[in-house]
């Protein structure tokens, strides 16, 4: 594995059993997260962006299963764990969760246990993974809370979740995620439930954390604005597949896949001329269980060509590091992805 890469996913396939049917929530996803960088996974509801991230630490419901692909995690150069080999809820994967790879969820309200003080909830993670005395733990947590911009941390340590506002709760969630100083932070829609002014606070906080601790971040969101602001690389997902993947500037300034460009032009930008009609993508967001002949996006695509119904388009590397999964780019000299 490349020494700059902290996490690499190769050919991941995650399935869900819904009744008697099998839903392919994630289909042949390959991506990698660079050390100290942020990868954004963007897409609409049901596109598989959360499932991809949850597959990394095998936080899947009982009906979900990783059935193919490898997930490799390298905390430092020369060290490597193959996460996909671990059994669900095995000791190995639990020692990774929280200590090496931690998560922040969308809803800070329901992610905290209302009957314990937040100090207790952060402590618990620390005691689980490290041998540390109670006093030391307390000191470290208070330092962390102060660093995360929670005023009066000594006092707040003994407060219960309901005494915090939404933005403060999300800071506590970040404290829980950061307390063991993980190498990789998976943030699943961390600001969707928050107001814009609070969202700006949290995003700038996450940037500071990355600077101070060198943490790599996977940021899952549906908001193109947040991606543009917070990410170094982007993966655009549609129906369980990555349709476009590359460095932020390349994807945003030169979107290749029709879906990416439509997404970018369908959101109103501040200062947009009121007379311009928004570009909309026709039809509905498909259900995960829908089955398509050929490219999944073809029923909604405006640039459909004769190949689109033939089969799934292979990954084309159009430029260095800029990949797209679309028949339009067949001739542009790309080779099949490994």
């Amino acid at each position: 594995m490349n020494k700059d890469i902290v996490l690499s996913i190769d050919g991941l396939k995650t399935q869900f059993k819904v009744g008697k049917r099998i839903v392919h929530a994630v289909n042949d996803v390959s991506l990698s997260v660079k050390r100290g960088k942020t990868l954004g996974i963007v897409g609409e509801s049901g596109c598989g962006k959360s499932v991809t991230a949850h597959s990394v630490v095998q936080l899947l419901p009982k009906t979900g299963n990783i059935c193919k692909g490898t997930i490799k995690y390298s905390p430092e150069v020369g060290k490597e764990y193959v996460l996909s080999d671990y059994k669900r809820d095995s000791k190995e994967i639990r020692s990774i969760r929280g200590k090496h790879i931690s998560m922040i969820f969308q809803d800070p309200l329901s992610s905290l246990d209302p009957v314990y003080t937040i100090g207790k909830q952060i402590e618990e993670i620390l005691f689980e993974h490290e041998k540390i005395s109670k006093n030391e733990a307390r000191k470290r947590i208070i330092d962390l809370l102060a660093k995360l911009g929670i005023p009066k941390p000594e006092e707040r340590y003994n407060h219960y979740p309901h005494q915090f506002s939404g933005g403060m709760k999300q800071r506590v969630m970040i404290a829980i995620a950061m307390v063991c100083n993980p190498k990789l932070l998976i943030a699943d829609e961390p600001t969707t439930a928050l107001d814009v002014t609070i969202q700006a606070q949290i995003l700038s906080l996450m940037r500071d954390i990355q600077k101070d601790y060198g943490t790599s971040i996977i940021l899952i969101t549906h908001n193109m604005g947040i991606v543009a602001e917070a990410c170094d690389e982007v993966a655009v997902m549609y129906m369980g597949r990555i349709v476009e993947y590359g460095p932020l500037e390349k994807v945003f300034n030169n979107p290749l896949h029709p879906y990416t460009s439509a997404l970018l032009r369908s959101v109103p930008v501040l200062g947009i001329d009121k007379n311009t009609e928004l570009r909309s993508i026709r039809g509905n967001t498909p259900d995960g269980s829908d089955v398509f002949q050929g490219c999944e996006f073809s029923p909604r695509c405006d640039q459909i060509c004769q190949h689109c119904k033939d089969g799934h388009p292979p990954v084309r590397v159009v430029e260095e590091g800029h990949e797209v999964r679309c028949w339009l780019y067949e001739g542009s000299g790309g080779s099949d992805h490994k």
């Binding site: 814009v196 908001n223 543009a228 501040l270």
Partner: protein
């Protein structure tokens, strides 16, 4: 009567509207305080325009919408609607029974969660038909034709009227909600976060549709949302709410180019832009929105304001026209 002719174009007028919810505690439900959800809002809505109301959660924008729909009573102030025949502005409270009932038809609504705004046990036809029937909009066949027409207007097949709400996707349900409001021949539609529950690709469909319908049916929208870029795209004028008060009202272009209130500036700068390298100077506000139970003294924004001066802590600024533009109202000592 000179005032009335002056405001010929005004369809709806809010005068110092207040809505306080009592907080009760104990066995005897003693009132221990009030949530000042809407605390003195004065606004007027012109015919055919889209008035955007934007603010963070808890600022009272939804409650304000509900007071216009008369879903909750007013604690103080008055909401006036232009009468159809005389063109007079009449308080919604003072209307006689028939006019009051008629006003319910004239002001329609579209809510955030499209699934919850349709009765899950009723098919589309009967959901549409009942309000049309009690407002006597045609006989049975006419109503049915109208429903079919409305469904077609929002790009749905007419025979969908026999289906139940759960058989539709979120975007389709929101189209149905819009069609349902439209079937009543309304003048004003209060839209409370109509697109925030939808996927990005569906949001633009709904926004385009709403703009098309506005032109076609000469509708007036009150567009309530938290997403500034959406509000700015949809609205002709924008009102910013903070803790139950309007802090700034301006036309959309003026609002974007020349906003005056520090809170508006912070809001605008906090919106993430889907453009690489757009990160300009960002104003990051300290702290959270204070509780509307005991709002801060003086200007309600002063504890978070980065331009706060002494007078802000003492005296609450009034909403006044700016020096350069009489249509641009702002409530700030510093303007």
């Amino acid at each position: 009567m000179a005032v009335i002719t002056n405001k010929n174009n005004t369809l709806l007028e809010l005068k110092n509207v207040k809505k306080h919810f009592p907080i009760t505690s104990g066995f005897f439900r003693k009132v221990t305080g009030y949530v000042r959800a809407v605390d003195g809002v004065t606004l007027d809505v012109k015919k055919g325009e889209t008035l955007g109301i934007v603010g963070e959660s808890g600022c009272g924008k939804t409650t304000l919408g509900k007071t216009i729909l008369r879903l909750c009573s007013l604690t103080g102030g008055e909401i006036r609607l232009k009468a159809v025949d005389s063109g007079e502005m009449k308080g919604l409270q003072d209307l006689d029974k028939r006019e009051s009932f008629e006003a319910r038809r004239r002001i329609q609504m579209v809510f955030q969660n499209p699934y919850a705004s349709l009765n899950p046990m009723k098919n589309i036809l009967s959901a549409f038909d009942e309000p049309m029937k009690i407002h006597s909009l045609g006989n049975k066949q006419e109503r049915k034709n109208k429903i079919a027409e409305m469904l077609e207007t929002v790009n749905l097949q007419p025979d969908y009227m026999y289906r139940f709400p759960h058989e539709f996707s979120g975007g389709q349900q929101q189209r149905i909600s819009i069609a349902k409001a439209l079937a009543m021949n309304p003048e004003v539609i209060v839209c409370d976060e109509p697109v925030s529950a939808l996927d990005v690709s569906i949001q633009s469909q709904i926004m385009n549709l709403m703009r098309k319908l506005q032109k076609g049916y000469n509708l007036t929208y009150i567009f309530i949302a938290h997403d500034l870029s959406v509000v700015q795209y949809m609205s002709d004028r924008i009102a910013v709410m903070y803790l139950g008060k309007i802090v700034e009202v301006a036309e959309a272009v003026e609002f974007h180019n020349n906003c005056l209130h520090p809170y508006t500036m912070a809001l605008l700068s906090a919106v993430p832009m889907p453009v690489v390298g757009a990160k300009s100077e960002r104003i990051i506000l300290k702290g959270d929105v204070p509780s509307p139970v005991n709002p801060p003294k003086g200007c309600k924004f002063h504890p978070r304001c980065y331009k706060c001066i002494d007078i802000c802590k003492e005296k609450e600024p009034a909403l006044k026209p700016s020096d350069t533009n009489p249509d641009h109202l702002v409530a700030c000592h510093l303007r």
